[in-house]
């Protein structure tokens, strides 16, 4: 039982990471019907930005929680900019093109980011400096939670709540929902679709960057190719929960994280990556709209 609870804790931690990345995927897909393959690499850039920022800050003395927050904000800001640049540079010219073209371009952007990362950052893994010293907290007998894991969970929840707030209670959030419902009608209503799309990309990328920073803090090894697998898994999580659906992305992320940890802990670690795809195939065969998603009729 102890072991199971501990694995659950491990799973929830990873699940929140996947959820953060999945949110970006789901928002972009909801608005543009585009799978932004490059999203996983934005996560990677977030982690690296945080790495360099952390080194800069810790060089001036020891780091406090305030310093960690600063690092997080710097990373989120940089990646929001990156997301907007990608959108303007690569996706905007293809708004009217068939979806396949945009998909291929997304693959291209992803490859570009990864390989630029290899050239600029160097292909060798880097190791995050310890900003937060880990402390162990015991929940029940034998089940330990590291302070890292609590930070990850807390930050994820705060960010997700913030996002829900923005989407449901603000004007721009309303605009986002309108554009994802029907882009043409929204623009007829006077909503600047370009701005909304830009904003969506910015927010999604910022969330991915946050995920990158959190992962860097707890699993200190980062390398330019670290975004590929989490990116794909987060996409699967988004599909699992219902693509285009924000609570769905969070749910999907959690399920993904827990399933992965359970498989690795109880079966074998070689299936760690395969479980994501197995889940995807199952959900697409059984309920293609996802757990929380609603079906959309296809017009002929």
């Amino acid at each position: 039982m102890q072991e199971f609870l501990q694995q659950l804790v491990n799973g929830i931690t990873w699940g929140s990471i996947y959820a953060l990345i999945a949110l970006g995927y789901t928002m972009v897909y909801g608005i543009l019907r585009l799978i932004n393959f490059a999203h996983g690499d934005v996560y990677m850039v977030g982690a690296f930005t945080a790495y360099f920022a952390a080194r800069l800050i810790s060089a001036h003395g020891s780091v406090s929680p305030l310093g960690a927050l600063l690092v997080l904000l710097i990373a989120m800001g940089t990646c929001a900019l990156l997301g907007v640049t990608i959108e303007r540079g690569a996706y905007k010219p293809l708004r009217k093109s068939p979806r396949l073209t945009a998909l291929i371009t997304a693959i291209g952007v992803s490859l570009l980011l990864e390989n630029l990362g290899i050239i600029v950052f160097g292909p060798d893994p880097k190791f995050f400096p310890q900003i937060i010293t880990p402390r162990r907290i015991e929940i029940t007998r034998g089940v330990l939670v590291g302070s890292h894991q609590i930070v990850i969970l807390a930050v994820s929840i705060v960010l997700m709540l913030l996002l829900q707030l923005i989407v449901l209670k603000t004007k721009i959030g309303k605009a986002m929902r309108a554009v994802s419902f029907n882009r043409q009608a929204a623009s007829l209503m006077g909503i600047s679709t370009d701005n909304v799309i830009t904003f969506t990309f910015a927010v999604g990328s910022a969330l991915a960057a946050a995920a990158g920073v959190l992962v860097g803090l707890s699993n200190p090894k980062i390398d330019p190719l670290m975004g590929i697998m989490p990116g794909i898994k987060a996409f699967v999580a988004a599909v699992l929960g219902g693509i285009g659906n924000i609570p769905g992305a969070m749910l999907g992320g959690l399920i993904m994280g827990i399933a992965e940890v359970m498989v690795v802990g109880y079966v074998s670690s070689t299936f760690r990556d395969a479980i994501a795809f197995a889940l995807l195939i199952v959900i697409l065969l059984v309920k293609p709209t996802g757990l929380l998603g609603t079906g959309v009729a296809e017009k002929v």
């Binding site: 102890q2 072991e3 501990q6 694995q7 491990n10 990873w14 160097g122 292909p123 060798d124 893994p125 190791f127 310890q130 880990p134 162990r136 034998g142 330990l144 590291g146 890292h148 992962v215 699993n219 200190p220 090894k221 390398d223 670290m226 940890v261 359970m262 690795v264 802990g265 109880y266 074998s268 670690s269 070689t270 760690r272």
Partner: protein, 409 residues
């Protein structure tokens, strides 16, 4: 011929001629250049997750080659080492070795550190009749690839055995867990040898988990291990993952020490693992604190040139290079005519044939080398082309390595 036809021909003529010129240029350009040096190939992981392996080994080899060249080379001919980076991938290792053999026309290959990469490159050397000397690959299968493959370090059946004996006898551990890297021959082999010896001595393996090279999260496997309460965890992996494993084990409240093999050897190990590694042990090929004057002189020369202490991989790279050149020197003194065929490139098929015969002779010399004085110990090649050498146990305390013991074969 009509005007149109003539015009048409003129227009095609230029591109066709250009194309032909390019083809000719290519074939000329690719001809082997004739030079007067002895070409040696080296392949290693200069980039990738195990980058320090390749870089350390390269440093050791460079040091050795420079020493030999400044002493006049072999029979006055300098050594030239061509290095190929395999990025830590076996399929790149295969391509790299092919290129070294077919394009650079090397007479011998040094490499690799990781057994999987050595295994990928060895068949190419064996089929081409080029001797390959691995400085640090410990999986027994490497030299089984053929009689042209040698190693100057101990093998995993020895390493795994002594690790198990150390755990059971010296540390008094009766229950152990294994966490191995399933993507890695070295790790799988070493774990297997540890397992069999430990069990045969009376110990019990209470948990056997695995991970893949490149993973960053091991909490799931460690949680499963923790549930079985072992007294020790055997982690025969590479330093990158080992450091993270140690950290996460401590985070989960596992206090048992970790024991590992020579895959831990890296100047980044402690940087990655931090204080989590205190109280852990691993086997190694040599220790830079060894009072032996030969070792100390090597350490100081290395330090002066590269900064930082040489690790076992650098020492083994150095030894492998010196071992090879000792063999070449012997060949040169016994059969100077044959030795000449090893110099420079291969301008025609006849030279190639003579070279092949000479390499067979070289192989014979290497295979019968006994008592070669290496920095990492006495190197005597046995009938399986392995070196019979002692293992050294090191303990990590407060970010420093301390010497625990030496086990003779």
């Amino acid at each position: 011929m009509s005007v149109a036809r003539r015009e048409a021909l003129k227009r095609i003529a230029l591109p066709v001629c250009l194309f032909g010129a390019v083809l000719m240029a290519c074939s000329l350009f690719s001809c082997a250049k004739k030079t007067e040096e002895i070409r040696i190939g080296e392949f290693g992981s200069l980039t990738g997750t195990t980058a320090t392996f390749g870089i350390s080994t390269k440093n050791g080899i460079d040091l050795a080659v420079d020493e030999i060249n400044s002493a006049g080379g072999i029979e006055g001919k300098p050594l030239k080492v061509t290095v190929e980076d395999d990025q830590g991938k076996p399929e790149e290792a295969n391509t790299a070795v092919k290129k070294l053999i077919e394009q650079d026309r090397v007479i011998a290959v040094l490499g690799e550190v990781a057994s999987s990469r050595s295994l990928a490159g060895a068949p190419n050397c064996q089929n081409a009749g080029i001797p390959m000397i691995t400085p640090s690959s410990t999986n027994p299968k490497v030299t089984q690839a053929g009689d042209f493959i040698f190693r100057v370090c101990f093998t995993d059946d020895f390493q795994g055995k002594v690790a198990a004996v150390f755990a059971y006898d010296s540390l008094g551990v009766k229950k152990a867990a294994i966490l191995r890297d399933i993507k890695n021959d070295y790790s799988v082999g070493l774990a297997h040898f540890f397992d069999s010896t430990f069990v045969s001595r009376g110990g019990k393996i209470v948990a056997d988990e695995s991970y893949s090279e490149g993973d960053v999260d091991f909490k799931a496997q460690l949680t499963a291990i923790k549930a079985k309460s072992p007294d020790l965890i055997f982690v025969p992996g590479y330093y990158t993952e080992v450091g993270l494993v140690a950290r996460q084990a401590r985070e989960l409240g596992i206090g048992a020490p970790l024991l590992g093999g020579d895959g831990w050897v890296s100047d980044r190990l402690i940087e990655i693992g931090g204080t989590a590694l205190n109280g852990c042990y691993f086997t190694n090929h040599y220790w830079d604190g060894d009072p032996d004057p030969a070792v100390q002189s090597f350490v100081s020369t290395y330090k002066k040139r590269f900064g930082g202490n040489p690790d076992a991989l650098a020492a083994l790279g150095y030894d492998a290079a010196k071992f090879l050149t000792a063999g070449l020197k012997k060949l040169a003194s016994e059969d100077p005519e044959a030795f000449k065929t090893l110099v420079g490139g291969v301008p025609n098929a006849a030279t190639g044939k003579l070279r092949k015969e000479t390499l067979i002779k070289l192989r014979g010399i290497l295979a019968t080398t006994k008592d070669f004085p290496g920095i990492t110990g006495n190197i005597s090649i046995d009938e399986n082309r392995n070196a019979v050498k002692p293992a050294i146990f090191l303990k990590i305390e407060n970010g420093q390595y301390t010497f625990v013991g030496k086990v003779l074969p």
